[in-house]
């Protein structure tokens, strides 16, 4: 039954993917800039430019180009980037683990900040903690992440010299560990490489802190709202009346509140895959979002398309996983 649900969801996803590719294709084709000139340089002759355009298919009608693109994409070929001269698939496979590592740890930090605060704010309906949670929510959502990154770099690197330089994921002289999951920290842990672990962890601190601080807000808010509702719900009051220990009651309430919180985390996750771009840029992270932005700004069309498709697929997978978690958490949605 579960398999049927998954199969149904995947079937449902295909027209969506198609729509996404179609819209981005049309959009990206509208970006001004002649890729043939970019690739061959201004010293190229008109002949070689025309030959290249023919080869890349740019002289064909739009719908033909689209069909060709879809055909190639289904086989995993998203074309090449004229900036890196490498296939987009290769570039993305190299950069997406960086983005995912950053976003995952950033989200974990956001949860670590937002969730306890939300629970505390729901438990204590007034007092300094509640007030602080309220202010934090507001301010965190208002801070521009690139600005916060800048301030953190200024304070912790330039002035205090505590943190690692804001360049990439690992110290240049340190060898990255063998690629297992793609996450430098996790891979170093698995392999047991202390040097790589400390270096990659050190480089993660500031960007993760930035993302964590800024994105804790929505998590805090959702936690607070649903926990408040849970605390005032009948079954919790019933449990309290019965004299069940605080911790047990808390756990029940948390369980009831979890689905909504998980939803917001998944929404954030999907958003951050493309939304962590500015932080990636400030820290020269080498992530996929940075790659896509470079593509748009320099009229390098294929990376943008590839990134959009990849991140859309990722988001859809995340939503599917979340729905499955829902199944597990909330018996009401089963059957």
């Amino acid at each position: 039954m579960l398999l049927r649900y998954i199969a149904r969801r995947i079937l449902y996803v295909i027209p969506q993917l198609f729509g996404i590719i179609l819209v981005s294709f049309l959009l990206v084709k509208l970006i001004p800039g002649d890729p043939a000139v970019m690739m061959l340089g201004p010293t190229a002759s008109e002949q070689s430019l025309a030959a290249l355009r023919d080869k890349m298919g740019y002289s064909k009608p739009l719908w033909q180009q689209f069909t060709y693109y879809i055909g190639a994409a289904v086989h995993g070929d998203f074309g090449s980037s004229w900036q890196t001269t490498r296939p987009v698939t290769e570039d993305l496979l190299q950069r997406f683990p960086a983005t995912l590592e950053l976003v995952t740890f950033g989200l974990l930090a956001a949860i670590a900040i937002g969730f306890p605060l939300g629970v505390a704010a729901a438990r204590l309906q007034s007092g300094p903690v509640h007030k602080f949670a309220g202010y934090y929510r507001l301010v965190a959502g208002a801070i521009p992440d690139f600005w916060l990154a800048l301030v953190l770099i200024f304070v912790f690197y330039t002035r205090l010299g505590w943190s690692a330089p804001p360049l990439g994921r690992i110290d240049m002289a340190v060898a990255p560990p063998k690629t297992i999951t793609g996450s430098l920290v996790i891979d170093s842990l698995i392999v047991g490489d202390v040097g790589a672990l400390s270096s990659s962890f050190g480089h993660l601190v500031l960007p993760v802190l930035t993302l964590g601080i800024v994105n804790a807000g929505p998590i805090l808010k959702m936690t607070q709202i649903t926990m408040t509702r849970a605390f005032s719900s009948e079954f919790v009051r019933y449990a309290e009346m019965f004299g069940l220990p605080r911790r047990v009651v808390l756990r029940q309430a948390v369980r009831a509140a979890l689905p909504a919180v998980v939803t917001i985390i998944s929404v954030l996750y999907g958003f951050l895959i493309g939304g962590a771009v500015l932080v990636e840029i400030v820290f020269s992270w080498g992530g996929a979002g940075q790659y896509a932005v470079q593509g748009v700004l320099n009229a390098d069309v294929n990376p943008v398309l590839g990134f959009v498709v990849f991140s859309a697929v990722l988001s859809l997978i995340i939503y599917l996983v979340v729905d499955l978690i829902y199944f597990a958490l909330d018996p009401r949605t089963r059957g």
Binding site: G33, V37, M38, L40, G41, P42, T43, A44, S45, Q83, T84, T85, R86, D91, Q94, I153, Y157, T158, G161, A164, P165, P166, L167, G168, D171, M172, A173, V174, A175, P176, K178, T179, G195, A196, S198, S199, I281, V282, S284, G286, Y291, Q294, L297, N298, A299, D300
Partner: protein, 552 residues
């Protein structure tokens, strides 16, 4: 470096961690294959640059990263002798002055070539190659390599074509193999640059044996191969190239001049200059390239960091497109110069690190003259000129600038305010760095920034680049028949004295017609760790990894 100002240098936590980590670690290749561990960081040179090399095929690519790579991967037939820099103690530079007593009239010596013979009339040059020189693929240097390299220029055109036309080399039979290690270049007309062009960064010799193996019927000149690999006789070989991230170079044990002191070079892309400066300050990199003036000044006072400032061939200017009105009128162009707050820009944007551009070619090249510099900031004069041109009510125009060059936007903003005072409305157009060069060569902008330097230290060469109406690099569309004639004659005679006179006349005309708004000579500022020695300035404005060594 301790920050407590006691003057005692103590290794900080970062240094210890780094050294420890590097002793334990190694440089990884793509795919996770680990190569041999590097012995110590003192023989690893780490460079923070704005961008990694694009294509390594110098026949087509003029990106900054490629310049640095080519200098290490390839060698030339001849090179300029080195002298200590007159302005910066500890640094060296090429000796590009005229030396009438030396062969060829310049201070060149053999590099890949053991010796050379230049025809006094300037119609041929003969090279005797050194024997036993191996490329990074193990193939020996022979005359065939030289021939193939020049044939490639004929075959592919583009930048190669520029060299051919500069020399007046019209067909490939002009390059003759006369023996296993002897090769000549023969011209129909005398040309003064036969020897002077050889040290040019983009005139090195390719390993033709390897390239022939890599070529196909569709790709007879190994374009695909040379885009991502090197086949040359230089001191380094390419270990890894991840565009957008880093390039790694390894010193060649079998380099004919001995292995360079720096065994490994990590060329890392760091797009923001502020980050590059931070990295240098913190000791994470040895060299930070292309920093902003304020950053350079701040680094001067940092302990552990040194700044070498030398005169350079770089110039920065605004192209006034003669084919877009109102810049077809020389009076308007002169007015634009009188309205430009040059001194202010030099003080605030360049922080005094640059000198005024008071001529139309590099002031370090023989033949330069500044005696025709008549402009200064004079808004009244500008207004009067505009009135003479019939534009007393001003006009509207736009300026395009490179988003990646941090000095251009402030200059544009300052110019905008200054132009407002004479009734000219200036709209700013920001162009992303990767497409900026295309915007320049398209010649569709009325005003656009350009930063460049002619690499060959020759007055005729410099003038023809920008002011010959047929030159590809003449982005201002400047056309003056007299100047064209002078340039043409200068290219056809070996008589240096005569050439200097002709080019002085040309400079006079050009300066009075103001095809550019003259901004500055930015100079070359090498920001490096204090214990790094060996910086040498080249007219191609790039560093050569092989020059560097570390102080004990």
């Amino acid at each position: 470096m301790s920050r407590d100002g006691t003057g005692i240098s103590s290794p900080d936590r970062r240094d210890v961690l780094k050294r420890g980590a590097s002793l334990a670690g190694a440089v990884a290749l793509p795919g996770g294959v680990i190569s041999n561990a590097i012995a110590a960081t003192s023989t690893t040179l780490v460079i923070a640059a704005p961008a990694t090399p694009q294509s390594l095929d110098w026949n087509f690519d003029v990106s900054l990263g490629t310049f640095e790579a080519i200098a290490a991967l390839y060698d030339n037939l001849l090179e300029f002798k080195k002298i200590p820099d007159p302005k910066q103690p500890g640094a060296s530079r090429e000796d590009i002055a005229d030396h009438p007593d030396m062969p060829a009239g310049i201070a060149v010596q053999g590099k890949l070539a053991e010796s050379f013979e230049l025809d006094p009339a300037g119609k041929f040059i003969r090279f005797q190659l050194r024997q036993g020189i191996k490329s990074n693929w193990g193939n020996e240097l022979t005359a065939e390599d030289v021939k193939w390299t020049w044939d490639r220029k004929f075959g592919l055109g583009a930048i190669g074509a520029f060299f051919l036309s500069t020399l007046g080399l019209e067909n490939k039979e002009g390059v003759k193999v006369e023996g296993k290690y002897t090769v000549t270049i023969n011209l129909d007309h005398p040309n003064p640059l036969l020897a002077k062009l050889q040290p040019n960064l983009y005139a090195p010799i390719i390993d033709s044996t390897k390239c022939k193996q890599e070529s196909t019927t569709d790709d007879p000149w190994a374009r695909k191969f040379l885009e991502n690999n090197s086949a040359g006789f230089g001191p380094y070989r390419l270990n890894q190239l991840q565009r957008g991230q880093q390039a790694v170079f390894k010193a060649r044990e079998d380099y004919y001049r001995g292995k360079p002191a720096m065994d490994t070079v990590i060329f890392r892309e760091v797009p923001t200059s502020a980050t590059r400066a931070s990295l240098l300050q913190g000791g994470a990199v040895d060299i930070a390239q292309y920093l902003q003036p304020l950053e350079i000044i701040k680094l001067r006072s940092e302990r552990g960091v040194a700044v070498d400032s030398v005169n350079a061939s770089f110039m920065i200017w605004l192209e006034l497109n003669a084919q877009i009105e109102p810049f077809g009128n020389p009076k308007v162009r002169k007015a634009m110069n009188f309205a430009f707050p040059q001194e202010q820009v030099l003080k605030t944007v360049f922080q005094g690190l640059a000198s005024p551009l008071n001529g139309c070619m590099p002031n370090i090249y023989p033949g330069f003259t500044d005696k025709f510099w008549t402009y200064k900031y004079d808004p009244e004069m500008a207004k009067a000129l505009l009135k003479e041109a019939g534009l007393s009510s001003g006009f509207k125009t736009s300026i395009a600038y490179n988003a990646g060059d941090p000095v251009q936007e402030p200059i544009a903003i300052l110019y905008q305010t200054a132009l407002r005072n004479i009734g000219v409305e200036l709209e700013l157009k920001k162009i992303p760095p990767a497409t900026f060069y295309n915007a320049v060569s398209e010649r569709k902008q009325p005003i656009i920034f350009y930063v460049d330097s002619p690499w060959c230290p020759d007055v005729g060469y410099s003038m023809t680049l920008y002011f010959n109406s047929k030159s590809f690099v003449n982005y201002s569309n400047y056309k003056n028949d007299d100047v064209d004639a002078l340039i043409r004659d200068t290219a056809r005679t070996n008589d240096q004295a005569k050439r200097l006179t002709m080019m002085t006349n040309a400079q006079q005309t050009v300066m009075s017609e103001a095809p550019w708004v003259f901004i500055a000579y930015p100079g070359y500022h090498m920001t490096r760790r204090a214990n790094l020695k060996g910086f040498t300035y080249y007219t191609s404005n790039n560093i050569r990894f092989q020059d560097f060594s570390r102080e004990a």
